[in-house]
């Protein structure tokens, strides 16, 4: 009989594991963040055209990557939860959503703060920024649907459906916005086309992206533990938790 490892990753058995993993991911995130910041401020050269403002790229691009990456991972976990009826996978999806929404917000915020000095406007109808905005609405849709349904099991399944439908639409939205953008503004310099990607800049962005990734995992694990306790509060293993005495 195949070992159904979904069964073993039950919330009860994963709770302590998550607890032990969190410090590791946080410290990895901190180290990578420090390295990334050092590169972005002290190693990467000043940009010829954009001066120092381009350094915002070291947060904007990694956050944008993470916002897309987290949505896809969230939809995958939600899909697994729907298909295999494993509660833990759905909990992981719900634990990821707020962090993903935060990353999207950071991408939008830093995008507009970067657009202001470069193009003089706080909001640029650039293809990538516009689809980030729509991605933010997809995150809010997922979170508010789950918040509006009381029964956790149904909330998981409903969330999974909207996440899967959303993930199919993300590429479609991106390409339709790109099509729309080129139609209206012509091939204007898109926000992302910063000048030739100097090597340290690329490394800086990759290191920062890794830092954000480690951070997102740590944040997800923390929220996951809270969700597990909230949902399993009637089960015996939660009542016997050592933490309750502290």
């Amino acid at each position: 009989m195949t070992i159904n490892w979904f069964r073993y990753s039950s919330p009860a058995s994963f709770y302590p594991i998550a607890g032990r993993l969190i410090p590791w991911f946080f410290s990895a995130a901190a180290l990578l963040m420090l390295a990334g910041l050092y590169i972005s401020f002290f190693v990467a050269p000043t940009d010829a055209q954009q001066g120092e403002a381009y350094r915002i790229i070291f947060i904007h691009v990694p956050a944008a990557w993470m916002s897309m990456f987290i949505y896809i991972v969230m939809a995958a976990w939600a899909g697994i939860g729907l298909a295999f009826n494993t509660r833990l996978s759905s909990m992981v999806a719900s634990a990821l959503a707020p962090t993903g929404a935060m990353m999207t917000f950071i991408a939008l915020w830093t995008g507009s703060l970067w657009g202001k000095p470069m193009w003089g406007t706080w909001w640029v109808w650039d293809a990538r920024l516009t689809s980030e905005l729509i991605l933010l609405f997809l995150y809010f849709g997922f979170m508010s649907l789950q918040a509006a349904i009381d029964d956790p099991r149904r909330a998981d399944k409903a969330g999974a459906v909207i996440a899967l439908v959303g993930v199919i639409n993300v590429p479609i939205i991106y390409f339709s916005v790109k099509w729309w953008n080129t139609l209206h503004q012509g091939a204007s310099v898109s926000l992302m086309q910063s000048p030739t990607m100097a090597k340290p800049m690329l490394i800086g962005m990759l290191v920062m992206a890794l830092a954000f990734w480690m951070y997102s995992i740590a944040a997800m694990l923390m929220r996951l533990r809270a969700i597990i306790i909230e949902r399993e509060r009637n089960s015996d293993w939660v009542k016997a938790l050592k933490e309750r005495q502290s």
């Binding site: 009381d150 029964d151 099991r153 949902r231 009637n234």
Partner: protein, 206 residues
Amino acid sequence: MLAIIKLECVRGERRLFSNLSFEAAPHTLLEVRGQNGSGKTSLLRNLCGLLPPAAGAIQWCGKDIYTIADDYRSHLAYLGHLSGVKDELTASENIRMSAVAAGLSASAEQIDAALIRLGLRDFRDSPCKALSQGQRRRVALARLCLSVTRSLWILDEPYTALDTAALAVIKDLLESHLEAGGIVVLTTHQEVAITARATRRVELGQ
């Protein structure tokens, strides 16, 4: 043959029942008893595949009902708390359309016979929003008359809002269905004597 193996059902945070096992062979009347909130309705919705159980399995003729989903439903008729009657449509339209949507044959004669049997003949062409709650239940029971080809009947408190005349009709309906080899699973609070070759009882919420 309906078999339930170590069934467990959770509603929201509460575990309604667990480790529930029983069987229902043809010609069997299975009564599900228990106070309000003991999970009777949830159990019935588990049995007809509407509500996936938290644990355990439900088998029809040895096969899990979720693997043979559509085929299982071709042997099933379910009457829930909701009568499944649309207000805008007339009684005969309701019966015809819901029967055809459920894949049952519903000729005009069959519909008329069912309406007459349930005493709804003169409401045949009036919109159902004019009918009382009891009459709507009769329309739902009329659809049951057309489901004689379905061997498994799952009825959630079928006797509510019915007067003595309608009770007699449903009693007769159930008995002929059981006699013909069908299985009836029902929940009720009233004591209605139904003669059946085998009567089983499942008590929930001890």
